[in-house]
């Protein structure tokens, strides 16, 4: 399955209407701004483009994905948010950010009237995870911050691990 999402012509921020993709991980609904998602693929359809990456320091990233000449790091959303183990079936490939998100399923796309700031009382990692909260159909849904999936240090670490994996792979190819 492939769903291509066109970027919004005018990215909106704050308490303005915006279109989001609602997705589910371990029975918990999240939202992500539609204009930050490049495409949505099933895990089956990208199996050939995915490679394992060995990085014990970041267990939430176990695969890379090569798309259009770029390497994306695939973040398991359940592990990222500390949720129970689930069966992810879709990958949200993000735009302008070398990360993809493994999720269980897409609920739908929706227009939200705005994003409420996360109350100041929340002081943990969720301040990095979320842009804020959306109120839709009598439910409060966290709106994820794509940049919060991986820190610059995480990227450095993953880039090192990825280069190392590539080096090992080419050595093995030469020996073969």
């Amino acid at each position: 399955m492939t769903i291509a999402i066109k970027p919004a012509s005018n990215p909106r921020r704050g308490r303005h209407k915006e279109t989001v993709v609602l997705f589910i991980v371990a029975n918990q609904m999240f939202a992500v701004a539609a204009d930050s998602v490049h495409e949505i693929r099933s895990t089956d359809s990208i199996a050939g483009a995915a490679n394992e990456i060995d990085n014990p320091e970041l267990p939430k990233v176990r695969h890379t994905l090569d798309r259009s000449g770029r390497t994306y790091y695939v973040v398991n959303a359940g592990m990222h948010f500390g949720l129970p183990v689930s069966r992810p079936a879709l990958v949200l490939i993000l735009r302008q950010f070398r990360a993809a998100l493994l999720v269980d399923r897409i609920d739908r796309m929706a227009e939200i009237p705005g994003v409420y700031p996360l109350p100041l009382a929340f002081t943990g990692d969720e301040r990095r995870w979320y842009r804020g909260l959306a109120y839709l159909d009598d439910s409060v849904i966290p709106v994820i911050e794509p940049k919060g999936l991986l820190t610059p240090q995480d990227f450095q670490r993953l880039d090192r691990a990825h280069r190392e994996a590539q080096r090992r792979e080419s050595e093995a190819a030469v020996q073969a």
């Binding site: 500390g82 109350p119 100041l120 929340f122 002081t123 909260l133 409060v140 966290p142």
Partner: protein, 160 residues
């Protein structure tokens, strides 16, 4: 406006709202209390902050709900689902916070005495109501509490 809300609106200095949380009867300065909200839906989502149960939406605002159970003990007050909404200080700013209560609140007057040296951080002081000495909660501590602080509060509670 409920009678307790009307009382809160007319509250003066040295007025306190007495509430039942779990098995504990505690007090909050009435000036801090905004309203007693009906049992609206508690929304939960993954987060890493101790002592927060989730949020409620009240009058178009998202209000974080303090989970007092780990600190104050007793049967989960979340089952009661009335919410006392009060102002709390978070760092240098102020925002609303909600505490699950069983809905039984009353107004009392008295002069708050400083807490004893052995009292946990969430006790701002005590007031005398009849023969009882009732702890006045310091909600700000709940807003800044991390796991370590929560554990400290547990231990302090266990020592009593």
């Amino acid at each position: 406006m409920s009678s307790i809300d009307a009382a809160i609106a007319n509250a003066k200095e040295n007025s306190f709202v007495l509430l039942q949380i779990g098995h504990r009867r505690v007090a909050l300065p009435a000036a801090q209390v905004v309203e007693l909200a009906p049992p609206v839906r508690l929304h939960t989502f993954p987060h890493a902050t101790s002592l927060l149960a989730g949020v409620i939406v009240r009058r178009g605002r998202v209000v974080p709900v303090v989970d007092t159970e780990p600190v104050l003990g007793g049967k989960s007050p979340l089952s009661h689902r009335f919410y006392l909404i009060a102002n709390r200080r978070v760092g240098n700013e102020s925002e609303l916070g909600a505490i699950p209560v069983n809905g039984e609140c009353e107004l009392a007057s008295g002069e708050m005495q400083p807490p004893g040296m052995d009292r946990p951080a969430y006790v701002a002081g005590t007031i005398s109501v009849g023969d009882d000495s009732i702890d006045v909660l310091n909600l700000d501590v709940f807003s800044t509490a991390n796991s370590a602080a929560a554990n400290e509060m547990h231990k302090a509670e266990a020592r009593q």
